[in-house]
């Protein structure tokens, strides 16, 4: 996939069922972020097939990619908030692209922001927020359209350890509404506490895939 013969991911075969909650673990550079980028077609695989809801996304037409991305909420490692938009506008943007009505946006955005504990910061700009707060805005945006799939790349990486568990609990809550959740993390404490399916990557390969697993690296 990248320069030379070094592949970010190699020989990955796995199924993730609808409604599942899975941790994708491994040290940095093991391929977690690439895994997520492949699912939203931010990157293309050099070989192999990726199916989402029984559709092969490799063959997805270019103009349909935005519609795929609307079905997959994604919390990016670097948040990817729009710097010139307020917290409210950032979350609202994800609804605006789908053509939702102004009335619905006015009603749902504050609701979801309250859910992530930011009901009082609607008009703040991203650079006025702490890392943890930005992370929660990113989660609110990923979740606002109630996507069937939610991907989170290191959602606890930038927050106080005490808040990390709160964020995963939030993701768990979202999972309980039927959303498939995949969390990439190298936060051992979180993985060990929540006892979910653990897919462990190392140097781009799956070295372990177990239900109710633990982090497992030392």
């Amino acid at each position: 996939m990248y320069k030379g013969n070094v592949y970010a991911l190699e020989d990955i075969t796995l199924d993730i069922e609808k409604g599942e909650f899975a941790f994708l673990v491994g040290p940095s550079g093991s391929g977690k972020t690439t895994f997520i980028k492949l699912l939203i077609k931010e990157e293309e695989p050099t070989s192999g097939q990726i199916y989402i809801a029984d559709a092969n996304i490799n063959q997805l037409r270019k103009w349909k990619v935005p519609y795929l991305r609307r079905k997959i909420g994604c919390v990016f490692q670097d948040f990817k908030l729009l710097p010139h938009k307020t917290v409210f506008q950032n979350v609202a943007y994800a609804m605006e692209v789908t053509g939702k009505s102004h009335r619905l946006i006015e009603q749902q955005v504050p609701e979801v922001l309250k859910l992530v504990g930011l009901g009082h910061k609607l008009d703040a700009f991203p650079d006025e927020l702490s890392g943890g707060e930005q992370q929660r805005v990113a989660i609110a945006r990923a979740f606002i359209n109630r996507p069937p799939i939610l991907l989170a790349d290191e959602p606890t990486g930038n927050v106080d350890p005490s808040l990390g568990a709160g964020i995963v609990r939030l993701l768990e809550k979202i999972n309980s509404t039927g959303t498939t959740v995949i969390v990439a993390t190298h936060d051992k404490a979180i993985v060990d506490n929540f006892r979910k399916r653990v897919i462990a990557l190392e140097n781009g390969r799956i070295i372990r895939d177990q239900d109710r697993g633990v982090y497992g690296y030392e």
């Binding site: 935005p66 908030l81 010139h84």
Partner: protein
């Protein structure tokens, strides 16, 4: 409706945020279209002047002896009309009485020139225009060599060859004018496109994020295009103001004071020029932004 309101709000917010670049883009449109307008007006003035000059250059006067009979006149006139290079409708017989009346009118401020004339010294004459001023020499030669009753023709007068040379220079001017207008239009599009590209480059990260959140290319494009159109419109308004004030303060004064040059603007020119500048500004803005965006939408 919902979307239109959203796009309008986005455009406005983006313009306010990138006010310096927006001003730069507007200035570029204004300057290029303003110069374009001036060039077109100047060009039009020049070509009108040339047309006036040509009207004179194409003129041939044939002076006739007073002994010429009515039949001879008819034969000569038929010959003149039959020359293919001659504009048949322009062939005009001017009697000596008419010539004197014209003379008196032209020098009515100096009556001493004609007050004491007993007998009309002016000849009867034919006046004609060639279809193309270039053919004057040829027509003069043909009349001199082939006309019937040549002994009745006392003199043939036409514009000198110096004016013909002037005509060639004007021809070059016209070609330069066309090249100048086309190059200016291209430069304007390039400059706007570069300016908007800078604006978009500053926001490429935002564009990337928008795509990752599920925005379609058109959803991202519209505010940028509206921004370009708005900048183009404002720029062309300024260009029109500049062109109009140059016309009122400079060109009109020139025409008044240098009326012997017969400077003039074609009457419908501004009615065509103003909408052209407006449409040009809109197209330049829209194309400039749409073109610049293409590269950043590949996410």
């Amino acid at each position: 409706m919902n979307k239109a309101k959203y796009f309008a709000a986005e455009t406005w917010a983006s313009l306010r945020k990138n006010i310096i670049l927006a001003v730069a883009a507007i200035a570029v449109v204004a300057v290029s279209l303003g110069i374009l307008g001036l060039v077109v007006m100047g060009w039009n003035m020049f070509s009108n002047m040339i047309k006036n000059a040509e009207r004179k250059v194409g003129e041939v006067d044939i002076y006739l002896s007073d002994l010429t009979s009515a039949e001879e006149l008819q034969t000569i006139e038929a010959f003149l009309v039959s020359i293919p290079e001659v504009d048949a409708k322009s062939v005009y017989y001017k009697s000596k009485d008419e010539a004197l009346a014209e003379f008196k009118e032209r020098f009515k401020d100096q009556p001493e020139l004609w007050e004491y004339i007993d007998e009309n010294p002016l000849p009867n004459s034919y006046e004609l225009m060639t279809k193309d001023p270039k053919d004057v020499g040829m027509v003069v030669g043909r009349i001199g060599n082939e006309a019937p009753y040549r002994e009745r023709i006392e003199d043939i007068k036409s514009a000198s060859s110096a004016i013909e040379k002037l005509e060639n220079i004007f021809d070059k001017f016209r070609q330069i004018g066309i090249v100048a207008v086309i190059s200016l239009a291209i430069i304007a599009i390039l400059l706007v496109s570069v300016t908007i590209q800078v604006a978009i480059f500053a926001r490429r990260r935002e564009v990337g994020i928008m795509k990752l959140v599920g925005a379609t290319n058109w959803f991202i494009r519209w505010p940028f295009i509206l921004e370009g159109i708005l900048e183009g419109l404002v720029g062309s308004f300024i260009a029109i103001l500049v062109a109009l004030s140059v016309k009122v303060w400079i060109l009109d004064k020139l025409m008044e004071n240098l009326h012997f040059l017969r400077l003039s603007l074609s009457s419908g020119l501004l009615l065509v020029l103003i909408p052209c500048i407006l449409v040009g500004g809109v197209i330049i803005g829209a194309l400039g932004s749409a073109y610049s965006l293409g590269r950043f939408l590949e996410v």
